[in-house]
Assembly symmetry: C2
């Protein structure tokens, strides 16, 4: 969803062609956003299919080996729409670490404690890497990159605090026997007729 709009935004500044757009995108958004060059071309095809960009007529081309695209009125309109519509962070409610933790209490293969510890080690490692990057990347033109690092660091710290909270709550649970985190199947009862069935 974002590659599409990134290309639109770049084309909104100036018409361009696939290969160049790839470089522009990398310098605009940085390494973490670098994508396979093939994806630029397939995304451009889709944008053209949807009428958001169009190829320049050959007559206007300076080099016949480049396919130059420009943004259309529809494309500009879509871009404005995207810019003005704030991104929902609802997906925060669909966190993978949470899912893994919840599932670890259901499955018998592993304990939540192990999951928490492994995850914490990983987060500390990543946090260390990022803080190092932040202190080394202090050049003049690095502001956007620094803001990105800052964001990632703040979220990693939130993750760590949350893991602490989970650990604490789970300990409280172990004191109070109660079926938290337990699966509560609903719906029609099994109406089992007595034949063989696992566990």
């Amino acid at each position: 969803m974002t590659v599409k709009h990134a290309l639109l935004a770049l084309l909104d500044k100036d018409e361009s062609y696939g290969y160049q757009l790839h470089g522009l995108m990398e310098s605009a958004l940085g390494d973490p956003w670098s994508i396979n060059i093939g994806q630029v071309y397939s995304t451009l095809s889709r944008l053209e299919r949807d009428g958001f960009v169009e190829k320049l007529p050959e007559a206007e081309l300076a080099h016949d080996d480049r396919t130059v695209y420009s943004i259309t009125r529809r494309g500009k309109s879509e871009l404005r729409r995207w810019f003005r519509e704030p991104l929902s962070r609802d997906d925060r409610l669909r966190d993978d670490v949470y899912a893994k933790l919840a599932l670890s209490r259901i499955s018998r293969s592993v304990s939540p404690g192990e999951v928490i510890q492994a995850q914490r080690r990983q987060l500390l490692k990543e946090l260390h890497q990022l803080t190092q990057l932040r202190s080394s990347a202090d050049g003049p033109n690095e502001l956007p990159y620094i803001l990105l690092l800052e964001s990632a660091i703040m979220h990693l710290e939130a993750d760590l605090k949350w893991l602490d909270l989970c650990e604490q709550k789970l300990e409280e649970l172990d004191a109070t026997p109660s079926p938290y985190f337990e699966s509560r199947p609903r719906g029609r009862p099994p109406k089992d007729d007595g034949s063989a069935s696992g566990a």
Copy 2:
């Protein structure tokens, strides 16, 4: 990537069938993780294709209208691997809001200030909703859900702080004229031969 492992984890506890797994998943992970029932079946097919689950032989079935799956040795092994391998948060470096903000300085359709304000309004709205949910969901069996809310809230707060930081840095920039956030194309210079080309 997570639906797959959620199903494996549920099957690791007990063999089951598509429809029931759908309900189990919802009660184990909550509303935000509820998926279209169709996806359960397609994911089960892939799991079977990859040898992680297998259908029970008909002889062991209590109801011929259900297709009961059980986890295989390979499936258990994959599940353990997934549980033990911590999730990378590298993708924090590929934040959509950051991308939008960076692109808003390149495109002429919108200003970063507008983006920041719209985003902040949205975050405040979502934060308000979640804090209300947290205070109302205080039942006994709600701990996992509360932890999930807590996580989302902490991240929303980080988002808001980060937006403040961005705003502040951008104001500093407007005082110091300098091509921050500007695209710096690299590679072979355009070698333009003088013919028509936009902007």
